[in-house]
Amino acid sequence: MKKLINHPDDVVDESLRGFAVAHAALVRVSFDPRYVVRADAPVRGKVGLVSGGGSGHEPMHGGFVGPGMLDAACPGAIFTSPTPDQIVAATRAVDGGAGVLHIVKNYTGDVLNFEMAADLLRADGLSVEAVLIADDVAVENSLYTAGRRGVGATVLAEKICGAAAEQRRPLVEVAELCRQVNARARSMGMALTSCTVPHVGKPTFELPDDEIEIGIGIHGEPGRRRVTLKPAAEVVALLAESVLDDLPFKRGDSALAFVNGLGGTPLCELYLVYGELTKICAARGINLARSLVGSYMTSLEMAGCSITLLKLDDDLIRLWDAPVRTAGLRWAV
């Protein structure tokens, strides 16, 4: 295992310590329990947005804390959901009197920990809503399973709901918007290589030199299938078609395309992937009105990418374009 770390037990705290110093103007960081809040939290009268999940997906979620996006993020151990006490403390820290929305990726661990936290908070009289993000088309959607995983749509939901909360929309509206974003977004990812969880010390899975995993999860969960290494055009077609067919996206739809790197794939490849995606969408008559290309929701040093498409309307475009000032996403401010 080759990593720029000290002891595996200390990775999350030490990384967070660097993050806290680098972005001291934007955020405050609590180490016990562990959470990141925007420097000016709580913002009176604004719905607070809290997310969280395992670490190792940086910049998500801590890098999305700041004006126009999240009020707080709760980083768990690497690839392990945070605990209720983190979520409770973060929620209290950002409650500005208008209630708090928990944006939760649909993994059993995240769901259960956020539920326990919400139970405790509601028992104390706080107004808490939770929305599950479940946009990964690689997973069969069924009542008899844990359901689809939350992937790329999480970043989009956090940005869009963050803008809505900044406009002082009420909790029910922000929560409904979050459900809308989830309903209108679909994602699928692929891996060229595995990643190594520090305390495990060896790759999560083995992938032969000439194979790629289609439908990979952001913790290295296996995907739909393995196929032989292909030119990018074919890989993108595989991902894009699953995504486009699922909603389905229709000719004339306006969409936001999010090409996300998994951590070990360089930006030049992500732009190449985006170029391929624009061709496929053009052929299907889908207008890519907005885009985001970069490594925003990573799986440590895994090489690969995911593609997310979000069906846009005017409100969503305005909210997407609204100012955001976080370590990971920043514009118009």
């Binding site: 959901s81 259960l112 844990a146 305390h199 969960e221 296996p222």
Partner: protein, 219 residues
């Protein structure tokens, strides 16, 4: 038979021995649990539980003088706030509910233990929305409760009842091997989850084996 009844009961010391034995078992089986979880999950179950049980051990002295309910609640709270993942809230719920069921008690009869474990396991089922056969920790926990019921009906000794419940949990864990996961991270694998033993069911077996070993040590 009052004398025998008392010696057969579960004392506060027995509860502490149980928790310590579980912590040791988790430490010893950390890599095994991690390997099981790596096969059908994300390879952190061993590390998660170990982190949690080490935290529990550090805090046990705080409750040395408290009743069993308080001890179990503290155990639950510690797990909830240190484990994370799916197993944190589930094991946390198990212990919190067992703590509710044993609030104020300084010793437990077999009936008390059985009722407490049932309440805990029901809590796990409610929190996780899983059913037996979904390939989760419930597949070890539920048979353990059933075995306790059966032992009670047959009037076995408490030590024998605990032994049988551990055995039932062990069988339950082994029986998860052919199952297709319907809950938790393993469910993403679909059919490919069959052929592997569930890590949470395996740690649940360790928990009940620790109970058989520690709860009412023959002196």
């Amino acid at each position: 038979m009052a004398a025998e009844d008392v010696s057969a009961a579960i004392s506060r010391a027995g509860i502490l021995r149980w928790l310590e034995a579980f912590a040791v078992a988790v430490g010893e089986n950390k890599d095994h649990l991690t390997r099981l979880d790596a096969a059908i999950g994300d390879g952190d179950h061993g590390a998660n539980l170990d982190r949690g049980m080490r935290a529990v051990l550090l805090r046990l002295p705080d409750v040395a003088e408290r009743d069993i309910g308080a001890t179990l609640k503290l155990m639950g709270m510690s797990l909830v706030s240190t484990v994370g993942g799916a197993s944190g809230p589930l094991y946390g719920t198990l212990f919190l509910r067992m703590g509710d069921a044993t609030a104020g008690k300084l010793a437990l009869t077999l009936e008390d233990w059985t009722a407490a474990l049932r309440m805990g396991v029901d809590g796990v089922a409610t929190r996780g929305k899983a059913h037996p056969g979904d390939k989760t920790m419930l597949d070890a926990l539920a048979p353990a409760v059933e075995a306790l019921d059966a032992s009670q009906a047959q009037g076995t000794s408490i030590a024998e009842a605990l032994r049988r419940s551990a055995l039932a949990a062990e069988r339950g864990a082994a029986d998860t091997i052919p199952l297709v996961a319907r809950r938790g991270r393993a469910s993403y694998l679909g059919e490919r989850s069959a052929g592997h033993q569930d890590p949470g069911a395996t740690s649940a077996f360790l928990l009940l084996r620790a109970a058989a070993e520690g709860l009412c040590r023959a002196t």
